[in-house]
Every structure is written in structure tokens, then in C-alpha cells.
Symmetry: C2
Subunit: 358 residues, 2 copies
């Protein structure tokens, strides 16, 4: 049975401004000391499980060159360039249609974000193998859940049933829930019946397409028209004509919250969604003062801060809990409490028509 | 009677790093919105009282070009270039010798730092006029004191006698005291008998030279040899040979703390010694959030901060009481509490032999 990977790399993640820009979002950045970008790490991580010929990158048309540049060993025809951003349901459906056409109904898809980090790769691969076993059987949809360690309000949760299933280590999903408030998040974490929704899925191409056909029939029809032409001269044109007309919909809301036969496998492999600059001190070594420092930095009485230099010296004195990021055309200085407000800077830049900085 | 000004511009003030550098210290920076540098302001401030031909700048040899560039209307021969830094006593003595030679014994010298700010120029000029009257008489030395507004521990103090003198508004100096600790500073301020020592003096060339001869006889001999040659071909050579051999001594310690016939005139003309980055918010307008902002800055939830941009955008989020200064090759980010520690950065740079940044 063919195992493929579908890596979703169309996101425009703004939370790493000023390093991330519309024309170089987070998945194309290197945020760790090893210099590999997030998408490169995502592909490398799968190398023992999936041949590079069977890895598909679904991305926005505008990132085509970045993908080619960062993944030179990937066959060019495996880059699926969306002519418009339509959220995850059309993205995954398009990849599923192409994979079913290229291989067969039973081809397994590992659907993965391109901008998360995983610390324990071997454990991650083991979980994927387990998920593949469940997904091979019948019409099952499998989602990788993350054992929650604290009541995060920024993630969706998966409510699972702890009753035994026919698949060891896999649990039936009761329901998907959107980002909760803090009280609910606390309840979820203490109940032992909820996992974080990591946005990683494993299924047969035919299984997810059957569900899209059932719950999103219009989208299915559009996707079918596109994938019919895959491998022919008219593919590009059909994609450009039809894809932008598809409804923008997430796979969670469009399919997972409605479908049956969903299993979750709890993973505990050091997952990090690298959701903001705060992540940098989690995913990189910090020094004895709790600082995560990169570049030419002189720190005096500075602690618990993340300081990322550019081409010039940064001197910090008497700082605590601060994020400093220098780039060629912009400097961010942000208290850790405010890391989510980076998007306000981008809003401001857009309003002022300063698109060269967005 | 000839009135001259001697502006001391040899300081290497490090507290405005990264804008100030060894090769461009504070007096040559513009720290106010009007774009004038500190030394330009100092000269402009005197224009109603002293002809530009009678203004002398004593500076370090290495700042000769900066002085010429910033004060193009100043006669070049009025720039006295010290071949070595020897503190204020030799600096003032050298200028006094030259002025006595060029004019006469009775020529008045207004001795002024080049890197202080004064808000109320007219009041300042009135105080100088009053001081000139006292200095014309006899062998008096006059120092301008500043009415203290809080117990500053960073300044020296002048203890004065509130008994009437023969000069209205001028008081006899009891003693000069060095920078006090906080308890003493409080005592001084509450006593009503102490003024801040601003380092501004008014006297005849002959008066200060007589005192130097009395209290610093070796220095006097050296200075006499130099000023003898003023206006001749050998001046430059004599200056370079003798000046570096003079003892490094402040005029306060060397003369003022020992001399008689010292009067002080209290001034209240909005004096600011601009001693650190903290001064910027005092000497410049702040916005409704208490921020002093210059350059291309987007501030979100930022208050009571001083942000000085360079060539790129600075975005600040959730900051309070911070100083941010961007220059072409270095960025400073410093809590207001730590503004005095800027010198530690410079020490660090020196130790690491990174002199291009000092």
C-alpha cells in the first residue's frame, strides 16, 4: 500500500513578523539553531516513512519558488500550487483527488502542517505507523491528538471515548471542539478525555473524499473536475478556473466535526505549534539567565528574554520578559505578554499602505 | 571691557551610546527636535552677549573637524585643540593664558560646558550679565549655581552664605562639595544653603590665572610657556610638547575648593545637564502616552518610553519605561532604571576590542 504525505504550506502566518512576511511566511523560516526551515524539517522528519517522490506540498502559487528553493529534491510535479487560499478542506480535498488519480483509492495520506515542530521524531513516526494501520482498515479517519499539558485556549480540542476499540492505542472521537475559554480548557485538561487537535490526519484518499462528497458535495464536484485533469495539459487551467470558486472551509469544521468513524491516537512526541515568538525559548536552548539569544548581542542584567539579532549589534540592559527581533527593515520590541499583538502592527502597516513591510 | 566665552568641548561623554561615539561625543549630537547640536546651541545662546570672534572652543585635537563643520562662522584660530585630555583645570588655564595674551588682563571669560541645555535663554543671559558685573570687580571668581529641585546625587553642590554681599543677587561661597550620598543630598536641598554646581564660571583671565599660579604652580608654569608662544609659529609645537605633561586636574578640585573670593549667582533658567538618555523626555515633547518618539515608530500599548529610530521601522508592543535607540551599526534597548549602565556596554566592547563600535 502506497503511503504519501500531504504537507500543507499555504499559510500566511503573521505572528513571526518582522521575520515572517507575506512573501516569506513562517513555514519558510528557520527558527531553530540548526538553520533548517520549518518546511524542510517537516519533510526530513518523514524520510524513513515516505519516499520523497510521494511527498506532496500544497501551497499558494506565490510560494512556488520558495518551495522549489528549499526542497530541491522534491519532484516539481509534487508541488500543488493553489491559485487562491481556501482553507484546509479544499486544500486536502485537492491533494486527495490527485493522489487517488496518481495511485489508487487505498493510497494513504499523512496530512501534516508545514510549520510545527516535533522534538521526538522516532516517537512521531511510530505514532504515524500506528495511525496508518487504523486508516488502512475500512473508511476510518484518523487524527493525531496531543496529550495536553496545560489549559491552552488557543487550540481546538478532541473529545475521545476511553473505551477500548478494535485498534490498540486508538480511541473513538466523540466530538471536536473549537478553542475553549479558560474555564472550559481547565475542565477539558482535568477530565482526561480531551486531547489537543494538532491538525495532523491520516486516512486513505478515498476515505476523506467520501466524506467530502457527503458533507461538502459542491466542493467535491469542483475538486473532482480538477483532479480529473491531473496529469493532462488542461490541469493548470482547470485548477485556476475552479479552485478559487470553492468555498473556503476548514477540514475540522467542514468534515471532522460531522463525520463518523473517526479515531484519534494520542501522541506525546514533543509537539510544538510554534504559534508565536514565545515559542522560540521553548524550541531553542536558553542561557543561564533564561535568555534565548541569536546574533551579535551584548546583554547586561537581562533575563528571560528572546533576542534575535540581525546585521548589527543589539545591546540590552535591565530587560525582563522581552522579545527583540531585528531584521533589515524593521525591529520588533515586544513584551512577552503582548506577543499576540504583533498582528496589530501588521494591521497598522496595511492601513498605512506600507505593504513592503507586511 | 572685552567679554569672551570659553566653551569646553573636549568631553568624550559615553552615556549617549550608541548615538555618541568616541569620534562623535554628546556635544556634537542633536538631541532635540530642532536639529541643532548641543555645541551649536551653546554658541547660539550667547550671541547677544559675545561676538563670535570672541568665542573660544577648547576641544580635543580629534574633534577639530567636527567643530569646524558644526560652527562654520567661528574663526578657525579660536579653536584651541588640546593634544591630550587633562580635565578642566589645564583646559581653562590654557584658554585664560591665550585670552590674556590676545586681549588683556581684564578680559572676562564666560566658561561654559558645550553639552548642557538651557530652556530660558533670556534669563540665562541676564544671570551672565550679573555675573560679569561681579567678576569685573577685584579678583572675584563667580560660579553659576542652580537652584536644586530634588536631591540629585549625581551633581556636586555649592554651599553658600545667605548673608548680604556687596553685589546684589550674588552670594559668597562657603565651600564646594563633591557628589553627596542621598541622605546628604536631601539635607543639602532642604537646608536652602546649597546649589547645584553647574560647571559654569565667570571671571577675568587674570583672576583665574592668579589662582592657578597660587594653587597649581607647576601647571601655571607650563601654561605660561604655552601661551607665551600664542600667535607665533612655535605655538603648535609648544602646545604638543608641554600640554600632555600637565597634571590632569579639575578646576573644582584644583582651584575652586581652595580659593577665596568666590561668589555664586543662583540661576533658575531651565538648566539640564542632559546626563543620560533619561533627559530626552525632559528636553523634548512627549505624546499623550508619555512617549518621546523620533523616527519611524509604530507603538502599541507602549508608555513612558523614549524611542529613537534610525533608518528602519521600530515596532514596540506592551512596553513601559524603556529606552530604545537605533543607529546604523548598533541598537540599544535599556530599561530607564538602567540608563547609567550604558557604560558597561562600552566597557564590554573595549574588552572585546570592538573599537569600531565604541
Amino acid at each position: 500500500m502506497k503511503i504519501t504525505a500531504v504537507i500543507m504550506a499555504g499559510g500566511r502566518g503573521e505572528r513571526f513578523w518582522p521575520q515572517s512576511r507575506v512573501n516569506r511566511p513562517k513555514q519558510f523560516l528557520s527558527l531553530t539553531a540548526d538553520g533548517e526551515t520549518m518546511i524542510q524539517k517537516t519533510v526530513t522528519r518523514l524520510s524513513s516513512l515516505v519516499d520523497i517522490e510521494d511527498v506532496f506540498i500544497v501551497t499558494n502559487k506565490s510560494y512556488l519558488d520558495l518551495v522549489k528553493e528549499q526542497l530541491p529534491s522534491l519532484p516539481e510535479e509534487n508541488i500543488i500550487a493553489e491559485p487562491a487560499a481556501r482553507n484546509t478542506a479544499p486544500c486536502i480535498g485537492l491533494a486527495a483527488g490527485i493522489i487517488r488519480k496518481k495511485y489508487d483509492d487505498d493510497a494513504i495520506m499523512l496530512v501534516l502542517p508545514s510549520d510545527h515542530l516535533i522534538k521526538f521524531n522516532a516517537m512521531f513516526v511510530d505514532i504515524l505507523k500506528q495511525a496508518i494501520k487504523v486508516a488502512e482498515d475500512n473508511k476510518n479517519l484518523v487524527t493525531i491528538g496531543i496529550t495536553p499539558t496545560y489549559p491552552e485556549t488557543g487550540y481546538g480540542y478532541i473529545n475521545f471515548s476511553s473505551s477500548d476499540t478494535e485498534y490498540q492505542g486508538a480511541y473513538e472521537v466523540v466530538r471536536f471542539v473549537e478553542k475553549p475559554d479558560i474555564d472550559r480548557a481547565k475542565q477539558y485538561v482535568s477530565s482526561g478525555e480531551y486531547l489537543w487537535n494538532s491538525g495532523m490526519f491520516v486516512w486513505k484518499a478515498s476515505s476523506i473524499l467520501a466524506n467530502i462528497e457527503k458533507y461538502l458535495p459542491d466542493m467535491y464536484k469542483g475538486l473532482a473536475k480538477i483532479s480529473e485533469t491531473y496529469g493532462t495539459e488542461t490541469f493548470e487551467e482547470t485548477l485556476c478556473n475552479i479552485f478559487p470558486q470553492l468555498k473556503s472551509e476548514s477540514i475540522d469544521f467542514g468534515v471532522m466535526e460531522r463525520a463518523d468513524d473517526i479515531y484519534t491516537i494520542p501522541g506525546n512526541f514533543g509537539w510544538d505549534d510554534v504559534g508565536s515568538w514565545l515559542a522560540l525559548e521553548r524550541i531553542n536552548p536558553t542561557n543561564e539567565y533564561g535568555n534565548m539569544v541569536k546574533g551579535d548581542v551584548i546583554s547586561i542584567n537581562t533575563k528571560n528574554s528572546t533576542i534575535i539579532g540581525g546585521k548589527k549589534l543589539i545591546a540590552t540592559i535591565g530587560l525582563d520578559d522581552l522579545i527583540v527581533v531585528d531584521t533589515d527593515d524593521a525591529i520588533l520590541i515586544c513584551s512577552k505578554d503582548s506577543s499576540q499583538d504583533v498582528k496589530k502592527v501588521i494591521e497598522n502597516l496595511k492601513i498605512c499602505n506600507r505593504n513592503e513591510l507586511v
